[in-house]
């Protein structure tokens, strides 16, 4: 490969200027001419039949244009199961479910009109615990589940009516494995509901053209083509009649794929005589009525030999999906599969259940279930190591997947950078150096702000510990990305790609790849705004698939253009196409670089000054194979795998239970860092989210299923004072199919974090905590319990 000029360089973000000046327009900022303002009435009941809705008073309120209920929007949607109505139909299934909506001249009027809507409910028994809801004979939350349209592999289970997916992995014979084991350990772990809490709340604008029936939706959705597909199926409209326009997105982390606010905005827009509707959820509404991460209960049982080899592992996992399935079936499959960890185990059995409850809807969240699996598996690994008298790192190194291993689901693994991440993450926090200061002054921040010290000012009763955890993460497979590249007669490139810039930096790295293929400077490349009428197809901006899939598509589109330019330039330079080279925006002779034409000049001479040369590229990972439904096996379950290890050093105050992270390393195998600056940014951001979920994030519901902390005052996101010294480490284990060897990175950043911290806390206290988050109260009581009962 020729020397890389732009790829692999720390290029600053293409979108940074518009973001630091306030010029960037996000979905929440958008104002359309003559628009109406929407507001939604939410269910106050976790599970109830709607006996009566009276909207007459609201409709008569001055300034109100439309008031609608489920009867006015007889549609359902859902990526895997079409179980979710645009507005509640006949019953409600969680507190926060949209029941009715108003469009009015301004928001105050819409808000006032909501209060005039009368709804009478008849309570039904509610399930708030996924294990309860999963029990045979449970009352169904969805009576009509069997008749819903759904993905082929999803079947109704009359005996377990609230299970919307049951994933099975069967490898070897776990009974035999346990009999051969010299030590068996069985534990239960749990992870609570947390929320994405992207800084931009959810919103959507919609307009229906009364003449053509065409529906236009302006929304910061991270998978516009999937949204288009879902909307088309829901409304029974051909895709050509629907258009998604994507303004900038203020973060998503999985919450803004699929349809959230869009269906209600569209339903309203059908009743406004062509006027556009803006529907914005405020922060509280975003917390209670958009999306959450699955609460998860994990049972794990392992059998090991005294030499540290793992004979058998069995897991039963309950994914609480809330009232609607959303992406739960695929979360359940893709994360139950690798939940037993990236280890060589001959006998493995996993049962994963996605279970309906009467709680807010759970779906995709950065990491797609891998963090929950790791919380259980990686702490369980430390527990096993402790009982075997082995160092946790040594125990892992003995068992981890290495190049050429066949995984327990039957896939021969390649490009496995796991061991390297493990060694580097451990080394970065001086693993093995016991009871030595980290060199970081843990009291620095506290001294500067004694009012924030929260009691950690003593040296007595403080314990330090170290811990690490690792993960292996698949990506959505098989999928397709398509891209276009245009070059004008000034040699400027425009890239058309359906990957959504959600903050992860895709626009910059895709532009880098396009620039690299044509050898033009990065400042000559711009990304086209996203609009499904114009932009080629892309499956989704999810599952860390974009660098690999869209990267390959953009690269092919750029190569297509390059070939066309070379064909046009050859006669002009009186040379053969094969004898041409590209450099610094020019086409030149390979052996006489001083003889050249600029790319723009070639296009101008051949096509005229105003013409544009176009190239196309498409990439599908073709050998992806679906998992076998009975065994969970697949020879190609994922286009590629991401590997990571993180290691934490913590300080725990025994008197208050407060955990402070002193330093934390994160080593991620990215295949090839297209932009190292951006990779570090992704790792740091992932760590911050992981630390928040480890120490304080928890969406608290009361015993009726009502969210008690739907605000940033009460839902504790990590602030600048909560975060430790972070040590991001890039590992590059080349993926041969990836563009320039790249894999993906966005999602794994937070996946091993809570487990690494949990292991460090256990190392400090000699007490194991099985439930997240590690709040001072929980840690304090665990210490008290540990005093009476040795771990």
């Amino acid at each position: 490969m020729a020397e890389l000029t732009v790829v692999g360089k720390p290029v600053t973000r293409l979108d940074a200027h518009e973001k630091v000046t306030g010029e960037a327009i996000y979905g929440y900022d958008l104002v359309l001419p003559n628009m109406l303002y929407g507001k939604v009435l939410f269910s106050p009941k976790p599970h109830a039949r709607i006996v009566r809705i009276d909207t007459e008073k609201a409709k008569r309120f001055p300034g109100v244009c439309a008031v609608i209920t489920g009867e006015d929007a007889p549609w359902t949607h859902g990526e895997s199961i079409k179980d979710k109505p645009f507005l509640a139909q006949g019953k409600v299934r969680y507190i926060g479910e949209p029941v009715a909506a108003v469009a009015a001249a301004d928001e105050d009027t819409a808000q006032a009109a909501l209060k005039l809507i009368e709804v009478e409910y008849e309570d039904l028994p509610a399930y708030l615990d996924p294990e309860e809801a999963c029990k045979p004979g449970a009352i169904p939350i969805h009576e009509d589940f069997a008749s819903y349209r759904k993905m082929e592999f999803i079947v109704a289970r009359p005996g377990m009516p609230n299970v919307c997916e049951h994933f099975k992995l069967r490898t070897g014979d776990v009974g035999k494995g346990f009999r051969e084991s010299e030590l068996i350990l069985e534990e239960r772990y749990s992870v609570p509901i947390i929320q994405h809490a992207a800084m931009e709340p959810h919103s959507s604008h919609a307009q229906v053209d009364p003449k053509t029936g065409r529906v236009t939706i302006w929304v910061a959705n991270d998978a516009p083509f999937r949204a288009l597909h879902e909307m088309s199926e829901a409304l029974g409209l051909p895709k050509e009649k629907i258009r998604f326009i994507n303004p900038l997105q203020g973060g998503g982390f999985g919450s803004k794929g699929g349809l959230k606010v869009e269906p209600i905005a569209v339903a309203l827009a059908y009743h406004t005589d062509g006027r556009p509707v803006r529907l914005k959820f405020n922060r509280e509404e975003t917390f209670i009525s958009t999306l959450t991460r699955h609460e998860t209960v994990l049972y794990i049982k392992s059998g090991v030999k005294k030499d540290g080899s793992i004979c058998a592992r069995q897991m039963t996992i309950f994914w609480g999906t809330g009232a609607y399935a959303e992406k739960s079936p695929t979360v359940c499959i893709r994360s139950s599969l690798p939940a037993p960890g990236p280890y060589r185990i001959a006998h493995v059995k996993v049962d994963g259940y996605a279970v309906y409850t009467n709680k807010p809807v759970a779906g995709s969240f950065r990491g797609y279930g891998i963090p929950q699996g790791a919380w259980a598996c990686e702490q369980h690994m430390d527990e096993l190591a402790s009982r075997l008298g082995m160092d946790p790192l040594e125990f892992r190194l003995k068992n981890v997947f290495v190049e050429g291993d066949t995984s327990y689901w039957g896939e021969k693994l390649h490009a496995v950078g796991l061991k390297e991440t493990m060694m580097k993450a451990a080394q970065a926090i001086e693993w093995g150096k016991k009871d030595q200061g980290s060199g970081v002054d843990p009291f620095g921040t506290l001294r500067a702000n004694p009012e924030h010290s929260r009691g950690i000012e003593r040296s007595k009763g403080l314990r330090t510990g170290k811990g690490l955890a690792c993960i292996q993460k698949p990506t959505r497979t098989p999928t397709t990305s398509q891209a276009g590249v245009r070059v004008n007669s000034k040699g400027e490139m425009t890239v058309l790609a359906g990957t959504v810039e959600i903050g992860q930096g895709c626009n910059t790295i895709l532009a880098q790849m396009a620039a690299e293929e044509l050898k033009v400077p990065i400042d000559k490349v711009r990304m086209h705004p996203l609009d499904t009428d114009v932009i080629p197809f892309d499956a989704s901006t999810t599952s860390s698939r974009s660098t690999y899939h869209m990267g390959n598509a953009v690269r092919r589109a750029a190569i297509d253009v390059r070939e066309k330019i070379a064909l046009m330039a050859a006669p002009m330079l009186e040379a053969k196409k094969e004898d041409l080279a590209f450099s610094e925006g020019k086409v030149c002779l390979k052996d006489q670089p001083e003889i050249f034409l600029t790319i723009g000049e070639v296009i101008r001479r051949k096509m005229g000054p105003d013409a544009v040369l176009r190239g196309d590229g498409s990439y599908t990972y073709e050998i992806g194979k679906d998992l076998d439904l009975e065994t969970g096996h697949s020879e190609h379950a994922s286009a590629f795998y991401m590997y990571a290890t993180q290691a934490a050093e913590v300080l725990v105050d025994e008197e208050t239970g407060r955990v402070r992270i002193l330093r934390m390393s994160a080593a991620h195998d990215v295949g090839k860092a297209i932009n190292p600056l951006n990779c570090v940014a992704q790792i740091e951001g992932g760590l911050a989210m992981g630390i928040g979920s480890a120490l304080h994030e928890h969406l608290v519901l009361d015993n009726q299923g009502k969210v008690r902390n739907p605000s940033f005052l009460d839902y504790h996101l990590a602030t600048s004072l909560d975060l430790p010294e972070m040590i991001p480490i890039i590992v590059e284990c080349t993926e041969p199919e990836g563009p320039y060897g790249a894999k993906g990175l966005g999602e794994p950043g937070l996946a091993p974090t809570p487990a690494a911290i949990g292991n460090a806390v256990a190392n400090a206290l000699r007490v194991r905590i099985h439930d997240l988050p590690l709040t001072p109260e929980r840690v304090f009581w665990a210490i008290q319990k540990g005093k009476t009962k040795p771990a």
């Binding site: 940074a16 630091v20 992207a198 800084m199 959600i502 951006n678 940033f712 600048s720 975060l723 972070m726």
Partner: protein
């Protein structure tokens, strides 16, 4: 009932009419059309809507229009120095301080408030000053680095 408000907005005298209960945030975004100031929570918890009111940083979602007569306001759109980006803006670009960028305007305004008062802050002082501005993307590391780099640039420029 609308109230007449005279104020200085990003250095320009402005007269407008708004109901006294209209929040400054909504006034800026919906009535004046300056959407650089972001709404993250509407309850004063996230700092995304930070603007300067009479020289002090405030959460514009907690200020009523009725209080604004005679006020001097600076928003993110007024942070540039003439046609030039403010050193804090330049440092955010250079260091990767913005990812999704939604918290960025508020973060920049709060960082400016810090540097106006303390041109040579320690890391801890920066962390403390920005602790009311939430960011879900960056983990704050690049933001803190950008503020340090901007502080250095401002101090050097003052010596030049």
């Amino acid at each position: 009932m609308k109230k007449k408000i005279q104020l200085t907005l990003n250095g320009k005298k402005t007269i407008l009419e708004a109901p006294a209960h209209r929040l400054l945030l909504d006034l800026l975004r919906d009535e004046i059309g300056l959407t650089g100031t972001k709404e993250g929570c509407g309850t004063g918890d996230c700092g995304a809507c930070t603007v300067f009111l009479n020289g002090k940083p405030v959460n514009s979602c907690l200020i009523l229009s009725g209080e604004l007569d005679g006020a001097e306001l600076v928003t993110i759109e007024g942070l540039k120095i003439g046609p030039e980006l403010h050193p804090i803006q330049k440092a955010f670009i250079q260091d990767g301080g913005a990812q999704c960028g939604y918290c960025t305007p508020g973060m920049l305004m709060m960082a400016k408030a810090l540097l106006d008062e303390n041109p040579n802050p320690t890391e801890e002082e920066i962390r403390f000053a920005l602790s009311g501005n939430l960011c879900r993307c960056t983990g704050y590391a690049k933001i803190i680095q950008a503020v340090q780099d901007a502080a250095k640039e401002i101090r050097q420029a003052a010596r030049r």
